[in-house]
Structure formats: C-alpha cells, structure tokens
Assembly symmetry: C2
Homo-oligomer: 310 residues x 2
C-alpha cells in the first residue's frame, strides 16, 4: 500500500462524491494532506465543519499547488472552468483525474488546458445516491463498485497504475474503457433511467384528473420507485443531459420507438406480445442480483413503512 499513498491530494468540489473521497482517503490513510476546494464559501464552511480536509480554500489554483493528485468532482459543465483555473498551477508530474458521468465532453473541456508533464486520466466511479452536498458522503460509497478509467493515448503507465491502485484502495474494481463507449454504456444504464424517472414524476405531478395527494398516497404500488432517481441533484443531471447529448438522444429514440410498439400492442390487445416482453425482462433482474449488483431481498429490502397515525 505504501506507493498508494499520496503526499497531497486536492479535492476540487466537495459534494456527494468529493466528500465521500475525503472520508475514505482519511479512513484508509491514502494521503498526508487533503486540501478541499470549492467556489462556494458556504459549502466550504460546511466541509470545514465536517472536518473533511486538512486545509480549505475557495481558490482552485491555490488548492492544486504542490498536489500530486488532483480529483475534480464538479458538475461536468464546469470542467473547462476548473481546468482553466488550475492549468498554470499544477505541479509537474501530478495526476489530474475527474469523476464525471460523461467522458468525451470532459476530455474535450479539460485536455487542451493540461500542461506537458501532468498526467490527465479521466475517470468515473459508478457509485452514488440520490443525496447531494458535503454531508451526503460516506467512506463506504465506492466499496464493491466499479470505477471506469478512460485513459487517453500515450498515458504514462506508472501514473495509470498509481491511480488504479488509489481507486482499489477506496474499495472499487477498476476497468479501462474507451471514452465514447463509456458515454454510450452510461447513457443506457444511468442517464436514460434518470431522465425517464424525472419525466414520469413530472407527468404525474401535472395531472388534473388525479390529485397530487392521491399520487402520493398510492405511490407504493410502483410510482415511488421512480422518485428516488428523480430526487437526484438537478445541476449534476442538467449538465449530464447537456454534455452527453448524442448518446442520450440515441437511447431516448430507441426507448420511444419501443414504447410506441408497446403502446400499439396495448391498443390492439396483443396479449402474446405483452407477455413475451414481460417475461424476458424478469431474467435481467435475476442476472443483476446474481452479479452482486443488487440485493436479493424483496422490495430492495425496504423496511415496512406505515401509514401516518398507525
């Protein structure tokens, strides 16, 4: 583990992911010094109250001075601004990585600013919850989760190896992937589900014939499952939609095409077609549980909930 430890890690952005990193770095002793940077004075003061770092600053430039690992954990639309901030202040030999949910756009925004002699290796830990902000993080967030790195051509193998070991020390299993393929995979497994969840919750919220209180009262019959994803951070998800546009539009168009066909089967009473689809999808859940990517418990292992006053 010795070579895994960094002298100084700069965390740029201290939301759910940044603050979970701060906690696991501390717990597993992965750095001598953690510097926390965020542009919001209020968030910085929250982070300080939580004791997440060894030093704190609202200046990204100041944060990266002397850092041998810089982890950018901001909404992907802010990547270019951060890269501009830090470019002139990076230590030669430093590793710069990020945790953004889209990779081609982050690379396009950051790479032009990265000086020679700095190792820029984009990354994406496949981990999260519906909560956000510095208080939402926890040290176990990355345990048992995948972390995808999308190294660019000519990446220094030692730097890649060191970053890989860092993520492993956080509890993750690391995979390398081409950035464009990453964006396609995430569009279907993450971006489309979030967009669909936001959309259905919006549709329900807009109805006149069914009251909001009815939607809420009877939500345990299915609807509530979607509200978790639809409670995710709006800024983060706005940026994902804007910065993985092509892959998302492709997946949305396939989804809508399939939905139109399903709608037609419902309209014309094609029971066999409905039954075939509804049977096939059952197998997918089984595979996910078998792969250890979801709990085997009924209803996600939710503890029974009670009606108010009971």
């Amino acid at each position: 583990m010795e070579h895994t430890k960094f002298e100084k890690i700069a965390l740029i952005g201290i939301g759910l992911i940044g603050s979970s990193l701060a906690r696991v770095i501390r717990r597993n002793d992965l750095a001598d010094h953690i510097v926390v940077a965020t542009r919001s004075a209020e968030t910085l003061s929250d982070a300080q109250a939580l004791g997440l770092g060894d030093s704190y600053t609202t200046s990204n430039a100041e944060a990266v001075a002397d850092a041998d690992l810089v982890i950018v954990s901001v909404p992907v639309g802010s990547s270019a601004a951060v890269a501009e901030d830090i470019a002139a202040h990076l230590k030669p030999g430093a590793i710069v990585t990020d945790v953004g949910s889209t990779k081609a756009s982050v690379i396009e925004q950051m790479r032009p600013h990265m000086p020679v002699g700095v190792h820029f290796i984009p990354g994406h830990p496949i981990a999260g919850t519906e909560r956000s902000g510095p208080s939402a993080g926890f040290a176990e967030l990355f345990e048992g989760r995948w972390c995808i790195l999308t190294p660019l051509e000519g990446t220094d193998p030692d730097a890649l190896e060191r970053l890989t070991r860092f993520w492993q020390a956080c509890g993750s299993t690391v995979e390398a992937m081409d950035p464009a393929h990453h964006d396609m995979v995430l569009a279907i497994v993450s971006h489309l589900p979030h967009i669909i969840a936001y959309n259905i919750v919006g549709t329900a919220d807009d109805l006149e014939a069914v009251t909001k209180s009815e939607v809420i009262k009877y939500s345990a019959s299915g609807f509530r499952d979607f509200t978790r994803l639809a409670a995710s951070d709006p800024t983060m998800w706005r940026d994902v939609c804007l910065h993985n546009r092509d892959a998302i539009l492709e997946m949305l168009s396939r989804f809508s095409e399939d939905l139109a066909s399903l709608q037609r089967a419902i309209r014309w009473g094609d029971g066999d077609k409905l039954f075939d689809l509804f049977s096939r999808t059952r197998a997918v859940r089984r595979s996910i549980v078998e792969a250890g990517q979801d709990v085997d418990a009924v209803d996600f292992g939710r503890q029974a909930t009670r009606l108010p006053g009971e």
Copy 2:
C-alpha cells in the same frame, strides 16, 4: 373483533395476494375455515404443502359452497370465468370481493353473473412485491397499506362495513372510490410505472452497441431500480394492460408528450428547462417520504452489495 370473523372464507387464487391473505386470516383468526381454490393442481399442492388452508380444491364452485366471504385473487382477465364458475353455488348473503388492479373491467366481467342476495363489492389492496406464487406471500403484506373498495350503487351498508372491518383487521386503511376514478389513479401510480420499467429493461436488453454484461455490471448507476418492477408477474401485468386500456393509453400519451418535450430541451441545450423539471421532481419524493409511503433511508435502505469475489 367478533363480528369481523367469518365462518368460512373461500380464497380463489393463491398467488402473492391470495397466499398473503391466507396467512393473515390465520394469524389474526379472521375465519373458522379457509378453503383454498386454484385451477392448477401443482399450485394447489404447493399451497397445501405450505398449510395455507383448511381445505383445498381445484373446483371454484366447490370452494364457494357455504362460504360467507369469497375473495377472488386471480389475474383480472380471468374474472369472468371465475364469476361463471361460482355464480350458481354462492350462498345467499355471501360477500364476494376481488383484489384486481383494474376495477371497471372486473365489474363488467363479474357483476352480470352475481345472483340477487349476494353482496358483490369490488376491492383492491394497494400492496405487492415483485415476487409471485403461493410461497411469495406473507402475513404483513397489507400492514400500513391502503385498500380501495369501489362499492356499486345499492350496496348493502352492513356488508360494506363487514368487508371494511376485514381489511382493517388485515392491517389496511380502507378508502372508497368510484371505479373509473380508481382506474385512472392506478394507471398513473402503478400501471404506467410498470409499463415504463418493462419497456426500458427491454430497450437495454436489445442493444448491440452495449453488451448485456455491461448493462448488468454498471446497473447500480440507475438501471437496476427499474428491474424490480420489470420482474413482476407477466400474466398479471398482461391482463392489467388489456383491461385498463383506455386509462393506460391516456397516461402513456401524456408521458410520451412530456418526454418529447424533454428530448427537445436536450437536443437544443435548454438547460433552464431541464433544471426546472429536475428541481420540481425532488419535492415529490419528499412528500412521499413524509406521507410514510417510502422509507427515509438513502438508496431505499439497500444493504451494500459487493462485487463477486470481493
């Protein structure tokens, strides 16, 4: 509680709902005798092995003889066939109810067969899991859940009161609703979410550019939430789609209209519109948690999952 107890309850159908009823009736001593009926000899033998009833039969007609409460828990498309089976054998004064997810269609299928002097009161407990069959049931399923009754004009108040007390004794809170309104409410809170979940899992399963194993590996980033609903009983959901067609088509059309507008915002980079929607939906989840209809825990309180071999 005395008046709540029935002499003989006939359970027609012994899947998730029927078998949960059997268990709670037994545990809370709500009947002197439980007769279990299902047309499948194999399912009946499973129910017998589990000790769910006092007597067992594959004949619906036989089951209802002398029963003072008959609960039909079959896929809604089988309602007419069951009504025909039992009509001539019902005891005068018996209460006949059901648990189907659509009400107008069940009423249309069953009411014409119900003899004078029998109290037909359609119902729908808003409770379930993604599992099915007699072994999937449990006595606590209805606790803290709503049960909607859709009594028809001229319903005997004593019979309604007795059925209401029965569901309360199972742990539910009972609400009365007009059948057409029920079908509209359930279309948005339950039927649309299931159809959307089935559809997105189908779309992901069909991709060529992203492998099935990638979909499964990275499913914790959002996709897995949908697979629970998409693992629900295919026969039950085929029948729901076929028997609540108009309300479902109405909701699907609103959903698709909203999705087209969201897709346009993504295509044209309208970040404000995306941010507005994504912020509004967060409040809906808060209301559901406050109403006691979902757990307050992060990520549904899922226990951490592990990668295989870790």
